[in-house]
Symmetry: C2
Subunit: 239 residues, 2 copies
């Protein structure tokens, strides 16, 4: 069975300006790999309506799933929900189910459920809510796009809510051999091994440690027996 | 003067699989901001020729500069240089200037300058070399695309080599006010302030610390006097 594919769309000026270092992409990449979904592309775009609409359309047409982070809070720069609705030509308004969740949350906290907070109940028609156990304001899934918060703790909780609803594939496995030689020394033999195993993907990642050059040789695939066989050959090449 | 724009293209299966956490995007974002170049978009793509060609073409047409990281080493999965050449319809081969640099480097190190290592001298016709003070193998600039290594130490050294050759703009400045209130409480006043300063960009970034909700309110722009004025109003709103 072919593995499902996915893209990630990180929405936020603060990432592009360097103010904030994104951590959601790395978290999602690992979760998807574990679930046998291939992350094929990731993009970071600014808080701009037209840009978000265009990126969502392009990615949702090309891949099985799109995961977005950022821009679903109560402030004026939170424009993701409206952009997703526009990308799908869906109506958007304060939805009763999200209003009820948030009303109860702010009642419990003794805080006013003001206009800004009600903004977080703007959910496109036809979307399914994504549970937010951290701070209640929900994400949502519309079509094949899963829309989540940017705050890492909330993003991670929402990914945990969404993941069990998705059909994964065979887990994407990898094994690594670390060798204390530079890439230039191992390249020829590694290239021949890669050619001998066309169903596996092999990558080479150099590092410098204490001034010495080393290389991590990584073999990826979905068939554990084939990976084991290739790793045994690799280990024999570089004992 | 309008600030020049840029995009980043991170090339590497190891980022998309979650094996490696990219740090080059965050580094470049800060360097560009300091130089007055606006990072408008970033993409991460797989080690796939057609995908890289398509992304390079799209980004180099849309933005003033494109910075790539990854895929210029000696192994079979290092396919960036050929993809950049293809994107621009340029010829590529072992270029004499890069061959001379690398030959001298491996002679000094007493290592054979073998086929794999010579692969790092594959540079498109018409490209300018980017100096690599860490490990010699050069990056290059072709058209408006700056092609650099993925290993962070080398990427950072190459960015330092390239940056002085680029015309920047007014530095992109920002100031932050940290308030111990949730976003929902500050949103209305912040929205009105943002509307009063159309030349500035204002963003709101919630955080949770010791269980309490707080918000960083960020004002960005290129005119220091205007940012100061807006910050003074903001501080008066949330003393």
């Amino acid at each position: 069975m072919a593995n499902p594919t996915a893209a990630m769309l990180v929405i936020g000026d603060e990432i592009l300006s360097g103010r904030t270092r994104d951590s959601n992409m790395h978290f999602l990449a690992n979760e998807l790999t574990r679930h046998g979904i291939r992350l094929m592309e990731a993009r970071v775009v600014a808080d701009d309506h037209g840009t978000i609409v265009q990126a969502v359309r392009a990615l949702s047409e090309q891949w099985d799933h799109v995961f977005t982070s950022g821009g679903i809070g109560p402030t004026h720069d939170d424009i993701t929900a409206d952009a997703i609705a526009a990308a799908f030509g869906a109506k958007i308004g304060h939805r009763a189910d999200a209003m009820a969740l948030l009303q109860a949350h702010y009642d419990r906290a003794g805080l006013p459920f003001n206009d800004a907070r009600q903004r977080m109940a703007r959910i496109p028609d036809g979307a399914t809510l994504i549970d937010n156990p951290v701070s209640t304001a929900p994400g949502f899934t519309l079509g094949n796009v899963h829309v989540m918060a940017g705050v890492p703790k909330i993003f991670e909780a929402m990914v945990a809510s969404v993941m069990p609803t998705l059909t994964g594939g065979d887990p994407l496995l990898s094994q690594t051999l670390r060798v204390n030689r530079g890439e230039g020394e191992v390249a020829d033999a590694f290239r021949r091994l890669a050619a001998a195993y066309p169903d596996l993907s092999m990558g080479s990642y150099p590092f410098i440690q204490n001034g010495a050059h080393g290389t991590n040789l990584v073999i990826r695939g979905t068939d554990p027996a084939q990976i084991d066989a290739a790793m045994a050959e690799l280990a024999a090449l570089f004992p």
